[in-house]
Symmetry: C2
Subunit: 215 residues, 2 copies
């Protein structure tokens, strides 16, 4: 891995390139030029080439990038060779949907445990993932070597859960709770704020409808 | 509404301020200074004051902002007085979870219809929302005056769904499918890319663990 600091935006684009490359592979494409890849993700060829330099992969000027090799290079850059383990906290509607969604999607990134306060869920296996009591969170995460937490509890419980995850030793949190989490600076937090996103769409939809004179 | 072009980031912050203000109201807080609000959302006081100028609300230099009045001002700025209607397309695990999540959260922003290709779901009411056949999407969206689409179908079906939503006349799409949508420029698209976000957390978690010498 490069020693240069790398931005969240770059990592996001690499994740996107890889997904597009997987799609091309499935369609039998063998090679692609930077401007073609750029068009598929809505970026520029120069941006694609800069991002691939970060990964350390260079294509051929005449044939472009080898699709298979490039997707593997990005995978080696993004993922740990031995894989990483995540835990999901809060097995409500959203938590269950995420267990189904992420299940088996990436072999090197698996959700190995779920936690909830509802005793009826203890011991159950939901979309391939076992559910444990919230009280066992710290010990279980340490036992399983989990480094990533996914928070799908209501806003009012989220900070308490984040505190426990940090205490257990995770280094990253994907937060779906509609609240800001306070964590030690060593822990990386990424928020997915669905209400904010929907309100944003609603605002711009209304603005555009007004411009068109529809409302 | 202001005639100045306003960025998605500003709208996102306004949505966040309002949520924080709702929380303060519930705790009985009557007023707040810009630097206090800034601390609660992780921003700066200058930023908060600029954002509030866009909304057209000014606080008192000695007492700060009135919490109730400010949350109402932001609401009037973000939302349509007569409300806006959304439709959700794809009633799988994620779609159902989102119906539950958004149900009743904002009185002026409601999901009025869901669509799926599974005949077993037709006519069912799921978390308060009726499910219709995918074939009725265009006519039903027009009939109900829906202007926002939420896409929760698999990647391979998403573009076809987006085409139908645009044909039906929506002006905004919240896209959960892990693929880029191509739409007319008049339609605002916001992506929530959960796989990309999880891969980002995994990358930075691993980087931080390596810095700490844990792995």
């Amino acid at each position: 891995m490069s020693q240069q600091p790398i931005s969240g935006k770059t990592i996001g684009r690499l994740s996107l390139y890889r997904r597009v490359l997987y799609g091309l592979l499935a369609e039998g494409e063998r090679s692609i030029f930077s401007h073609q890849l750029a068009a598929l993700v809505g970026g520029t060829a120069a941006q694609v080439r800069r991002d691939m330099m970060a990964v350390g992969y260079t294509g051929s000027p005449t044939r472009g990038y080898d699709v298979q090799e490039l997707s593997e290079s990005i995978g080696r850059f993004l993922e740990s060779p031995q894989g990483q383990r995540a835990a999901l906290v809060g097995v409500g509607n959203l938590g269950r949907a995420l267990l189904a969604y992420f299940s088996g999607r990436r072999p090197k990134l698996s959700i190995e445990a779920a936690f909830d306060t509802d005793p009826l869920k203890y011991g159950r296996v939901i979309h391939g993932c076992r559910c444990y009591p919230m009280d066992d969170l710290v010990s279980k995460i340490r036992e399983l070597g989990i480094t990533i937490g996914i928070v799908t509890v209501p806003a009012e419980s989220a900070q308490g859960v984040a505190d426990k995850l940090c205490q257990a030793g995770v280094f990253g949190i994907l937060n779906f709770a509609p609240t800001r989490l306070w964590t030690p600076s060593v822990v990386y937090v990424e928020d997915i704020d669905m209400t904010m996103s929907l309100e944003k769409v609603a605002f711009f939809a209304r603005q555009r409808a007004m411009e068109k004179g529809s409302i």
